[in-house]
């Protein structure tokens, strides 16, 4: 036990581990600051960030367990009464504890930061957070086992990079599922993750790996039995692990004339969504707002599952403005209501650097869609919407954009648009016809609308 | 003595600890022994003289060259042989390959001359018949001799050796002393050691360091003379620190114990009295 305390003291003072803690908190904290906090995702991301600490713990445990084979120590240690199994046991006790502490030092501040920022959606899953702690403990036992079974410190890096590969190439766990140490990406549409079962699995695997480390000192019944029992627990647990049933949907609610339908746990975001769209709802007559369909938060719904300020509102504003102005997907160039819809989106996100898309459909074989297209994040799991232009599929040209910009520069535009709403949103009203009502000098386009440039 | 190597106000710190504190010394042709307890700064001084560590203050000049200057340091290294405390080896090399590798790094570019030189230094350390043996198959003492062999490459003018006799058997130690005393006739040899016997038999001059400062500089006889009248032999165990001699008497240093007879002072007695080792009055 004294040796374990000694190892623990060394581990807790290990600069490699604490440097990893700082980097993980800073990098993930900076990334998280760009998104509205969703505790469900925040917890998963915090655990993913803590895997950097797990890597550091793996290396530290590997070096600690392999210490007695470096620098001519085997000869000196060989004559001591305390044998190698005792040293392995000490590392196996100390390193997981230090690793768990360090992982907690990453996860707790990141979750706390999310709670402080608000409005917080989603639910905090304590089992999920403990997965990070267990991962660090597993990394520690793996480091010790590698030191005992392989003579080179480099093998610890092979394991770390292998794990990194799984995180990067297989983030949703398509291959391996819950048998993987960690699935970094959460797909909220599948329901809550089986975090408690996965925690039990990780702990069982960590114990099994620790027992395997001890088995290096000879085939002994206790470690062999512990390894067998741990695996007997881990295998059925992971075989049955699956996403939990989805929570019951929550009621839609009205706000500023629009109807918002959040996912369960996302009710705190409704006020934020409404505030983001207020530049539109404050100028559109209520009868026009009534035309806007319910804004549903779902995969490929109007409201995304995640929210990145400065990006997400642009996408939602396009859909709301298009519906409010009565636009439909297809050519809308030279129409007053197209200018009005663009003006509405411009009130949410500036049109200064906006260009009409050169192509309104993805050019075949092209790596990217080109100018004028927008990418909006839909989910934490990497789903995005790639949309041509600012309106939800309604075509416009640079002349419409120029007219909308002119309207945005006019402080009295809101009053005039509200006063002449019916005329301006009439499908028959052209921009030239509406120019006196809008108070702008209409710029006219080349006539082609939706044709590739 | 014409100094070949001069050290002025040399200071080196490691964090808050001062390993060398304004040390000034001069070395000429001959063998100089560097004595001192653990942590006295011997290895720090050796490393600075071997140009592998830069001082924080003060300077070194060897053969008119200043190692603080990159080009002059390189020129000095061409005239330097260095045996570090932990030399390290490539265990999968043969003895010949290992020494040849260092010879290449000492810019011995002519292959035939280099091979001759490698064979010469291996013979000097009595490893001529082990040239084709892998280093991993050599004993600890043989590895130490191999490390010494590389320090002798190129017949250097300045030879810096950090604890060179560690691990050598008595016969090898004798050979080593003979070799060094021969080299010391025309070269500057500096050796750091804990073996006062090496100092007694080899060194014309001794420098004792304590806590980063020079506390003695002179001949071995002068160091031994410091113990004159302070070495005693008794038949009963005296107070303080003592050790039993082969003839069953007790040897102690310092003030005369009751019924003690004077003993013959040696370098080690002078050294212990100088440092004021535990139980030994300074």
């Amino acid at each position: 036990m004294t040796l374990a305390v000694f190892e623990l003291r060394r581990m807790v003072r290990n600069p490699l581990i604490w440097a990893a803690v700082v980097i993980a908190v800073v990098v993930e904290g900076a990334r998280a600051s760009q998104w509205w906090p969703d505790l469900t995702f925040v917890t998963v991301r915090a655990v993913t960030a803590s895997t950097l600490v797990a890597g550091a713990v793996l290396v530290a445990a590997n070096l600690a367990a392999g210490r007695d084979r470096r620098g001519g120590l085997p000869e000196s240690l060989g004559a001591l009464p305390s044998r190698a199994p005792a040293r392995t046991r000490a590392v196996l006790l100390a390193a997981p504890l230090a690793g768990a502490l360090a992982a907690a030092a990453v996860i707790v501040p990141l979750v706390g930061y999310a709670l402080l920022r608000g409005p917080v959606a989603g639910t905090f899953d304590g089992w999920e957070a403990l997965n990070g702690v267990a991962l660090a403990a597993l990394a520690a036992t793996a480091g010790a086992a590698l030191a005992r079974w392989t003579p080179w410190p480099f093998t610890s890096l092979l394991v770390i990079f292998g794990f990194a590969f799984l995180l990067v190439a297989n983030p949703r766990g398509e291959y391996g599922g819950w048998a993987l140490p960690w699935i970094a990406t959460h797909d909220a549409t599948l329901g809550p993750r089986p975090s408690a079962a996965h925690l039990l699995y990780l702990v069982a695997v960590a114990v099994a790996v620790g027992a395997v480390a001890l088995l290096r000192h000879g085939p002994r019944p206790v470690p062999a039995a512990v390894a067998a029992v741990s695996l007997a627990v881990a295998v059925p647990v992971v075989a049955q692990a699956a996403h939990l049933p989805k929570p019951a949907p929550v009621a839609c609610r009205d706000h500023d004339g629009l109807t918002f339908c959040p996912r369960p746990g996302h009710e705190p975001w409704v006020a934020g969504w409404a505030a983001a769209l207020r530049p539109i709802t404050s100028v559109v007559p209520p009868r026009a707002l009534a035309r806007v369909p319910e804004l549903r938060q779902e995969l490929y719904g109007t409201l995304p599952l995640v929210w990145r300020p400065g990006v997400s509102e642009t996408g939602v504003a396009g859909a709301v403005a298009e519906s409010a102005a009565g636009l439909e997907p297809g050519p809308g160039c030279g129409r007053a209501r197209t200018v009005v819809a663009l003006w509405l989106t411009g009130r949410v996100a500036a049109l200064d650097h906006e260009r009409a898309p050169a192509n309104w459909s993805w050019p075949p074989g092209a790596a990217g869609p080109g100018d004028g297209w927008h990418v909006y994040p839909l989910t934490e799991s990497g789903h995005t919407a790639v949309v041509p232009g600012r309106l939800n599929g309604a075509f416009y040209d640079d002349a419409d954009l120029a007219n909308a910009r002119a309207l945005l520069r006019d402080p009295g535009a809101a009053d005039r648009v509200r006063a002449h709403w019916t005329t301006l949103t009439d499908p028959a009203t052209t921009t030239v016809d509406a120019a006196p009502l809008l108070g702008i000098e209409a710029v006219t386009g080349r006539g082609l609308c939706g044709e590739p440039r | 003595m014409e100094p070949t190597l001069t050290v002025r106000e040399l200071t080196r710190r490691f964090g808050r600890r001062t390993a060398l504190d304004r040390v000034s010394l001069e070395f000429g042709t001959g063998v100089t022994g560097l004595l001192g307890p653990n942590g006295a700064g011997k290895t720090t001084l050796i490393r600075i003289l071997a140009t592998t560590l830069a001082p924080d203050g003060g300077g070194v000049r060897a053969f008119g060259l200043d190692p603080a200057d990159r080009e002059q340091r390189r020129a000095l290294r061409r005239r330097l042989g260095y045996l570090p405390q932990n030399p390290g080896v490539y265990a999968h090399f043969t003895a010949f390959e290992l020494v040849e590798y260092v010879a290449i790094l000492k810019e011995m570019n002519d292959r035939r001359a280099r091979h001759d030189e490698v064979r010469r230094v291996l013979a000097e350390v009595d490893l001529g018949d082990r040239a084709r043996t892998k280093v991993r198959r050599l004993s600890g003492g043989m590895r130490q001799r191999l490390a010494l062999a590389q320090a002798l490459l190129g017949d250097p003018d300045l030879i810096v050796l950090d604890e060179p006799t560690v691990g050598l058997d008595p016969e090898q130690r004798m050979r080593f002393r003979a070799l060094l005393s021969r080299l010391g006739e025309s070269r500057t040899v500096l050796l750091s050691t804990h073996q006062t016997e090496d100092v007694t038999t080899l060194c014309g001059r001794v420098v004792v360091l304590k806590a980063g400062s020079v506390v003695f500089e002179g001949g071995p006889g002068e160091l031994a003379a410091r113990a004159a009248g302070r070495v005693w032999l008794t038949t009963a165990p005296p107070a303080g620190t003592y050790w039993r001699t082969p003839d069953g008497r007790y040897r102690t240093l310092g003030d005369r114990p009751p019924e003690a007879v004077p003993g013959e002072p040696g370098v080690e007695d002078g050294y212990l009295l100088l440092l004021g080792a535990e139980g030994v009055p300074a």
Binding site: A19, A20, A24, F154, A164 | R74, G88, Y90, K106
Partner: protein, 174 residues
Amino acid sequence: MRALALPLIRAVDWLPLAATVPAVLVGAWLVPAEFAVAVVRLAAALLAAAAAFTLVDAMAATTAATPVPRRVRQWARTLLAALAAGGAWTAAWWLAGVPGSPVGPAGETVAALLLAFAGAGWAVRRAEGRAVALAGAAPLLACGAGTWAPAGVGWWWAVGPLLLLVAAVHDDVT
């Protein structure tokens, strides 16, 4: 230089690269095409971390006092390792069948190698032992922390400053 290169090739600790290269090549050959980019990027990081071990000189204390400057010895090790790692990465890129130009990924690989050399080069200045070279992986993992470091040709911009950094850590210790 040739006289130095031959014993240096033998002196270098090739074991980590020897263990990594086959793993990387087999991985690039076997994994499905959808993972090709990820495999090639991982190969870059893994080969860089392995290459960093070549900077560990078991005889550093002895060779430090030789007239051939430390920067020459360390750059020679760096070039040897970079050639081996670069060759293996090129083979992995070809085996994985990554679509598009290799210019961007190659820049990332060069940057990864230099990052690893800088990390390990800094560490071997300060401490002895083979395990010290693990420090080469630290900057690589730090770059990949939280999110995967961005891909693209932008890594070529980092090569210049990283070369200077490696030159600094390879410089003479005194």
